[in-house]
Symmetry: C2
Subunit: 154 residues, 2 copies
């Protein structure tokens, strides 16, 4: 079966919320979307999870100047080029710098994620991404296309 303009039999599926969080837990590199310098920048970072909250460490720079209290996104995906399939999860939320004003228990939980930056240099600052919404979509090869849900990965 061939779709109107797609390839034969591929389908796009919405990923349920609990599966989105499960997929987040399987990776350690994601990408922060943040408005800075007149563009919606995309910055790869490694991350950890405190429950369902994404935690990243960063250093003085673009991200730290622009992130606190701003609406940001966080994206993780996995692509299989051979089968032309894969999934993508997108968190929409707000970035919050972890500082002395936070209660000790939250700071301890944040540090307990054990996020270790891959990049060299100073990464002394912790950011938590407060989730407003999480959504995901998956492209599955070789299945009959289901009814398209236009809200998928809204």
């Amino acid at each position: 079966m061939t779709n109107a303009a797609g390839r034969p039999g591929a389908s796009m599926q919405t990923i349920p919320t609990d599966e989105c969080y499960r997929l987040l837990a399987t990776h350690e590199i994601g990408r922060i979307g943040i408005n800075a310098e007149h563009y919606p920048l995309i910055l790869p970072v490694n991350y950890g999870l405190d429950g369902t909250t994404v935690v990243v460490r960063t250093r003085p720079g673009t991200l730290l100047r622009a992130a606190p209290h701003a609406n940001v996104t966080f994206e993780v995906d996995e692509i299989d080029r051979q089968t032309r399939s894969g999934w993508s999860v997108l968190v929409r939320g707000q970035a919050e710098e972890v500082g002395e004003e936070h209660r000790a228990e939250l700071v301890a939980r944040t540090l307990a994620t054990g996020v270790q930056p891959w990049a060299p240099g100073e990464h002394g600052t912790w950011l938590r991404l407060i989730t407003h919404d999480i959504s995901g979509r998956r492209i599955v090869p070789g299945e009959l296309p289901p009814a398209v849900d236009p809200r998928a990965y809204r």
Copy 2:
């Protein structure tokens, strides 16, 4: 040798412009950064190149409503989780919908990229991303850290 807060011997390098374009040509999936719905959204897309111009195909939806004439970004990366290394290239530019007002030669070149959407459904619209700037950075494992260039991946 251990960095102040990083891991031993890793280094961050700026990728020269021509190498950024060469890396773009090695992949077929990237991520568009675009402001829509109050967030800097990150949307995975497959893409082709017309020379140094990124070309994507899309269908009616968030991207097509928000992209034309807007400042957008386009990111491609490759991560090696075992060695904790990898590279990332970021294009900053402006999205432009290819339509009848364009000269036939540009339309022909755009279509010649042969971009085939992985996702099913209608993908009748072509977008070109007019590059304003391109930059990249690479994390190399196990080398002595060079002098850090704070302009890297600016």
